[in-house]
Symmetry: C2
Subunit: 227 residues, 2 copies
């Protein structure tokens, strides 16, 4: 396997953009992977393409996967409304998409094996996050163990490495890190319920956490908010 | 979670058909899941639908996932030929699809969580198999660990169970088990390179292992072989 190639999961959001910038800065040839999974905020794919291009990715692929059809999340089921942000610890919000990061990492693993890439980047972070179980360090560790049992490369002794450069950073630190690496956050989108004009709602989990992050970092958020 | 509902991975092949029959026999309400993943033997989906119906599944879903586009396998890349069977131990054949079972189980996990199903059936077996790394017991154990870290249900203390009823059976035993449970093996397809008439090649890994299994079981194989 090559220690220069990396598959980078890229959603079009703030975290994965920063994760990509870090991977590029470390000298990896980055193969970015985004998904059409039936998400209501499908516009994020366009942001991902723009980010991959502006940050110097070698390639950007968009894979369609039908997990949204299973429902069970406000992000994929139009019957479940995306709520306003309510700060509450130890609760998994309705925007949690069942097994999403497991599916995303599994697909990234397949592509990494074909490319001969050893490293997979995912922009999860365990500090300012939404309480999703598949953003925790123990989940990542378990996936890495699985990756090395699941694959030809793993069996042959070449080990995959799941890189989570944001895992211990809060949003302020992520934004400052991205700014230092030249991320244009105007090319990222966080809102779960953009309006027809493309304005962010300013009230969902994702908007509130983003806004607080920019405020703490002392950086202007280029997002256009409707409130 | 319900201990009566199960998601059953169903490829349309001999093993997954038997796994479904076992799940039905155990009294589970079976929600079958098949994939269009760019496989050259896409006709297996039709066989899967027929099996789900004949064996009494509650529902059968077909999910499209774009992993075939990554290539790297004779089953998904038309540039790589499916070879004749060559008995050789400790070699992973070119029909191995990178991370396929990881992706399939990840999708099954997502649906199981939405359904409130605790059990997921997959028809892997570690005896008469093709040397795929993601058919081994240690892979399954690692996936179960991951499943319970990845999900809301796992975090809340309700644990998923990955059931592998065929793991210790050879093909002869699998076929005898299926026959006892009324599986109509004419509704299954194993060949990786069916011809235009729908005849099996009789020479790929999958055909050779299937044929040997029926011969050992003393049961007539309903497959039409071209040689």
């Amino acid at each position: 396997m090559s220690d220069r190639k990396a598959v980078v999961l890229l959603s079009g959001g703030l975290d994965s953009a920063t994760s990509l910038a870090i991977a590029v800065d470390k000298g990896y040839e980055c193969y970015c992977l985004s998904f059409e999974y039936g998400q209501r905020h499908g516009i994020e794919i366009q942001f991902a393409a723009s980010l991959a291009n502006s940050l110097g990715a070698v390639e950007h692929r968009i894979a369609r996967i039908d997990i949204g059809a299973f429902g069970g999340s406000a992000l994929t089921d139009s019957q479940i409304e995306v709520p306003d942000y309510v700060p509450c610890e130890n609760q998994i919000p309705v925007t949690y998409v069942p097994a999403r990061n497991t599916v995303f990492l599994a697909c990234a693993l397949g592509w990494a094996e074909v490319l001969g890439a050893r490293d997979i980047f995912i922009g999860v972070n365990a500090v300012d996050y939404s309480g999703y179980p598949d953003c925790r360090p123990e989940f990542i560790t378990a996936f890495q163990t699985l990756a090395n049992l699941a694959t030809r490369s793993g069996v042959e002794g070449d080990h995959f490495n799941i890189q989570v450069p944001l895992i211990d950073l809060n949003k302020k630190e992520i934004i400052r890190c991205g700014m230092a690496l030249g991320v244009d956050y105007a090319r990222t989108v966080s809102c779960y319920r953009l309006d027809e004009r493309g304005y962010a709602c300013g009230r969902c989990d994702s908007c509130v956490i983003r806004r607080q992050g920019f405020q703490s970092a002392g950086v202007e958020d280029p997002t256009q908010y409707s409130v």
